[in-house]
C-alpha cells in the first residue's frame, strides 16, 4: 500500500482520521484473509508433518516387517534345506537304490493287482489291454536283448513245435503218395463216377481214416464241455475227459521236467489214436482210426484257436453248469464233417445221361481198338505177300551199273537208254523199277556243253558191263539213306549200324546201297564213310566224276 501525498495529509486532518480507520479496516480485512491463508497453510504444514510422521512410522513398520520376512524366508530356506537333507538321508538309508524300492513296493503292487484281478478279471483285462501293445513295443525298443532273453523259451518252443508239426505233415503226405498205386486216369474216372475229388479218392483208398469221437474238455477239471457224436449219457464221456486230463497231468509231471509248454499231444492204442490240441482253457481230443489226411492238425489247431477267441470267458468260467455254455455241439459236428470230407468243393456226380454217354464212348473206343488190332494183324500177315523176299534185289543192281558204264558219256541221253531194264534179269521185275531213280542222279552233274562232242558215244552204253556183281558191306553207323547222292534230298529209309548192305554203285563219296529189314528191301544213297567195306569197290561200280 502506498502512502498519500504530503499536501493531502496537511490539508485535511478529518479526512486523515477516516482514512486511518478505513486503512485499518482495509488492513484488517486484508490481514484477516492473509491470516486465514496463513492458518490454512499452517494447518496444512501441520497435517503434512503429521503425515510425514505417520509415514516415518509406517516406514519403520515396513522395515520391521521386511526384516521379519527376511528372517522368515531364511528360516524357511533353512527348514527346506533341513528337510532335503533329511530326505536325502532317508533315501540313502532306506531307498537309496531303485531295486530296493522296487523290491519293497512290488509285493504291495502285486497283492493289489492280484486282488483286483480276482475281484473283476474282465475289468482288469479291459484296463490293461490298451497299453499292453505299447508297453511291449517300448520295452522291446529300450531293452531288446532282455525281451529276447525273456521270450526265447516261449518263441523257441513254439517254433520247434511248429517245425516238428510241419515235418510230420510232410512225412504223412509223402507216405500217402507212396501208397498210391492206381493209375491216374482210372482214378480220375472213378472219382468222377463217385462224385468226389480225385485227391480225396486217392487218399481214401490209400489211407483208411475215420473220426470216432471228438471231445472238448476243460483244463484242470477234466469236465467235458461238449462231445460229438453226442452220447446218450454224459457219464462215459465225462469219465474219458477226466482220465484224459489225469493222463495229461501225469505225463506233464513225469516227463515235462518243469516245462509247462510241452504237453501230451497224442495217445495211440492199436489203430486208434487220440489226437489232442490244447488251448488256454480247454483242449480238443479227437479219437481217430487210420492215418489222418494232410492239414488235419492245422484244422484242429485253427478250431481250438477260434473257439477260444469266440468263447474265451465261457470256457474259462465253466463250473459244470451246462446253461453257462454256448452251443458247442454243432461246432464239433461241423468240424467232424469238414475233417472227414475236406473243405474243397466236391465235383458234381455225373448224371444218368452223362454216364450213358461215357459208357457208349468207352465201348466205341474199345471197338475201334479191336478193329485197329485186327487191321494191324491182317497187314502184318499180308506183308510177306506184298513184299516178297528181297533176294532178287541184287539182280536189280545191274541197272545201276549199266548207267555207270554209260556215264562216260557225258551224254545224258545215253544214260537214259540203259534204264530200260533189258539188262536186268527178269526176276527183278518188281523191285527193278526203283532203279530208274538212280540213273538220273549222275546226269544232272554234267553240263550239257559236253554233249555235242560225245553224241556218238551212245553206242557204248551197250557195253557188256551190264552184269556187274555188287559187293557186300556193313554199316558202321545209324544213317538215313537218301534218294540221290547229295545232301538235303528225300530220305528213303533209316539204316541201322551193323546192317548188312549191298553196294550197287558208287559216285564220288556216296554209295548206293540196298538193304533188307522186316519191312522189305530198301535202296538209297549214303556216304561211304558210314560203310565198312569188306572188299575194294570194283571199278565198274564207280561212276567217274568230272575233274576240272
Amino acid at each position: 500500500m502506498t502512502p498519500p501525498p504530503p499536501d493531502e495529509q496537511s490539508s485535511a486532518p478529518h479526512f486523515r482520521k477516516n482514512d486511518a480507520d478505513l486503512l485499518r479496516t482495509a488492513q484488517s480485512i486484508l490481514f484477516a484473509q492473509e491470516r486465514e491463508r496463513i492458518r490454512a497453510l499452517e494447518a496444512e504444514i501441520a497435517a503434512r508433518k503429521d503425515a510425514e510422521a505417520e509415514i516415518a512410522i509406517l516406514k519403520k513398520q515396513i522395515e520391521r516387517l521386511e526384516a521379519k520376512l527376511i528372517a522368515a524366508e531364511r528360516a524357511y530356506e533353512d527348514k527346506v534345506l533341513d528337510l532335503q537333507t533329511n530326505v536325502s538321508i532317508l533315501n540313502y538309508k532306506n531307498f537309496g537304490k531303485s531295486e530296493s524300492l522296487l523290491s519293497r513296493l512290488s509285493p504291495v503292487f502285486s497283492r493289489l493287482i492280484g486282488q483286483r484281478i480276482e475281484e473283476d478279471r474282465e475289468e482288469m483285462a479291459k484296463t490293461f489291454s490298451p497299453i499292453m501293445g505299447q508297453a511291449i513295443r517300448t520295452q522291446i525298443r529300450n531293452s531288446r536283448q532282455d525281451m529276447i532273453d525273456a521270450l526265447y523259451p516261449i518263441i523257441g518252443s513254439l517254433v520247434q513245435r511248429s517245425v516238428t508239426e510241419t515235418l510230420r505233415e510232410i512225412q504223412r503226405n509223402i507216405d500217402a503218395r507212396l501208397r498210391q498205386t492206381s493209375l491216374t486216369v482210372a482214378r480220375s474216372l472213378r472219382a468222377r463216377f463217385r462224385g468226389v475229388s480225385q485227391s480225396e479218392l486217392t487218399l481214401r483208398d490209400a489211407l483208411p481214416f475215420s473220426i470216432r469221437q471228438l471231445f472238448l474238455i476243460q483244463h484242470g477239471t477234466g469236465l467235458v464241455l461238449s462231445s460229438h457224436p453226442a452220447e446218450e449219457t454224459e457219464l462215459s464221456s465225462g469219465m474219458i475227459g477226466g482220465m484224459l486230463t489225469a493222463i495229461r497231468e501225469f505225463a506233464r509231471d513225469s516227463f515235462g521236467r518243469g516245462n509247462t509248454d510241452t504237453e501230451l499231444d497224442e495217445i495211440q492204442y492199436g489203430n486208434e489214436r487220440i489226437i489232442i490240441r490244447s488251448g488256454q482253457y480247454a483242449y480238443l481230443a479227437v479219437v481217430i482210426d487210420g492215418v489222418e489226411p494232410g492239414g488235419f492238425h492245422a484244422q484242429l489247431r485253427e478250431f481250438v484257436s477260434d473257439l477260444h477267441l469266440q468263447y474265451d470267458a465261457e470256457l474259462r468260467d465253466y463250473d459244470g453248469d451246462p446253461d453257462s455254455l454256448p452251443p458247442l455241439q454243432p461246432k464239433l459236428a461241423q468240424l467232424s464233417n469238414s475233417l472227414t470230407k475236406g473243405k474243397k468243393r466236391e465235383p458234381n456226380p455225373l448224371s444218368r445221361a452223362q454216364k450213358l454217354v461215357a459208357l457208349f464212348v468207352g465201348l466205341g473206343g474199345v471197338l475201334l481198338l479191336g478193329v485197329a488190332c485186327f487191321y494191324l494183324q491182317f497187314t502184318i500177315a499180308l506183308l510177306p505177300i506184298a513184299f516178297p523176299n528181297p533176294t532178287a534185289t541184287s539182280t536189280t543192281t545191274p541197272t545201276a551199273t549199266a548207267t555207270a558204264t554209260v556215264t562216260p558219256s557225258f551224254t545224258p541221253t545215253a544214260t537214259k537208254t540203259p534204264l530200260p531194264t533189258p539188262t536186268n534179269t527178269p526176276t527183278a521185275s518188281p523191285t527193278a523199277t526203283p532203279t530208274a531213280t538212280h540213273t538220273p542222279s549222275p546226269s544232272p552233274t554234267f553240263t550239257p556243253e559236253h554233249t555235242p562232242t560225245n553224241t556218238a558215244s551212245p553206242t557204248m552204253t551197250l557195253t557188256p558191263s551190264a552184269t556187274p556183281t555188287p559187293i557186300s558191306a556193313v554199316m558202321i553207323g545209324h544213317v538215313y539213306a537218301l534218294s540221290e547222292p547229295r545232301l538235303f534230298t528225300p530220305r528213303t529209309g533209316l539204316v541201322f549200324k551193323g546192317t548188312a548192305v549191298t553196294i550197287t554203285a558208287v559216285y564220288d563219296t556216296w554209295a548206293n546201297i540196298t538193304w533188307t529189314d522186316s519191312f522189305g528191301v530198301h535202296h538209297g544213297w549214303v556216304l561211304l564213310k558210314w560203310i565198312d567195306l569188306r572188299e575194294a569197290v570194283p571199278s565198274y561200280l564207280i561212276t567217274p566224276t568230272v575233274v576240272n
Binding site: H219, G220, L223, G238, G242, A246, E249, F250, D319, P322
Partner: protein, 167 residues
C-alpha cells in the same frame, strides 16, 4: 432236467479207506482186500437233486507219499473234497488239515467234508471226536463218522458235500 457236472476229490493218508468209500457210494459194495491206488482212479456218480441231476466225477487220489510224487495238479478245478482219516490209526489225523490246506491252496472256494472212517471197528478206535474237532477247527465245524464196510454215513458224506458245493 439239466445235468450239472462237478469234479470232486477223495483225499487222505494211505489206506484210510478212500477207495472203499467211493466203491460203497458208487457201487454199493465193499471188498475186504486192499489194493493201493496208483496215481489216480476215476469214478462217477449221478445224484438226483431238487431240480437237476448232479454228476460227480470222483478223483480217487493216491494217498501218502504218492500224492506228493504225483503232485497236487490233480486237485485243480475241483469243486470239493472229502478228506478222510482212519479212526484206528492216529497218525492219519494230521493229514486232515494238511490235505485241506492243499485243497484250499488250489481251489480257495472248494467245499470240504471231513470224515473219520472205519467207524465199524469200534474196539480199535484211537481217534476221538474231540481230536478230530481240534484238528479241523480252523477249517470246518463238523465232521462225519463213516464206515465203508457197513455203508454208515457214506451217502450222507457225499450228499453233504453236494449241499456245500451248491449251497
Amino acid at each position: 432236467m439239466k445235468t450239472v457236472q462237478k469234479k470232486i476229490c477223495l483225499l487222505g493218508d494211505f489206506s484210510v479207506g478212500k477207495t472203499s468209500l467211493i466203491r460203497q457210494f458208487v457201487e454199493e459194495r465193499f471188498e475186504e482186500t486192499y489194493l493201493s491206488t496208483i496215481g489216480v482212479h476215476m469214478s462217477r456218480k449221478r445224484l438226483e437233486r431238487e431240480n437237476h441231476f448232479l454228476n460227480f466225477f470222483i478223483w480217487d487220489l493216491a494217498g501218502g507219499e504218492d500224492f506228493d510224487v504225483i503232485g497236487p495238479n490233480y486237485l485243480r478245478g475241483a469243486a470239493g473234497a472229502i478228506i478222510v482219516c482212519d479212526l484206528t490209526r492216529q497218525e492219519t489225523l494230521p493229514a486232515l488239515s494238511l490235505y485241506a490246506r492243499r485243497m484250499r491252496a488250489m481251489n480257495p472256494e472248494a467245499a470240504l467234508v471231513f470224515v473219520g472212517n472205519k467207524h465199524d471197528l469200534v474196539n480199535d478206535r484211537v481217534i476221538t471226536d474231540a481230536m478230530i474237532q481240534t484238528e479241523i477247527t480252523p477249517l470246518a465245524d463238523q465232521f462225519l463218522l463213516t464206515s465203508a464196510k457197513t455203508g454208515e454215513n457214506v451217502n450222507r458224506a457225499f450228499e453233504l458235500l453236494a449241499d456245500q458245493i451248491e449251497g
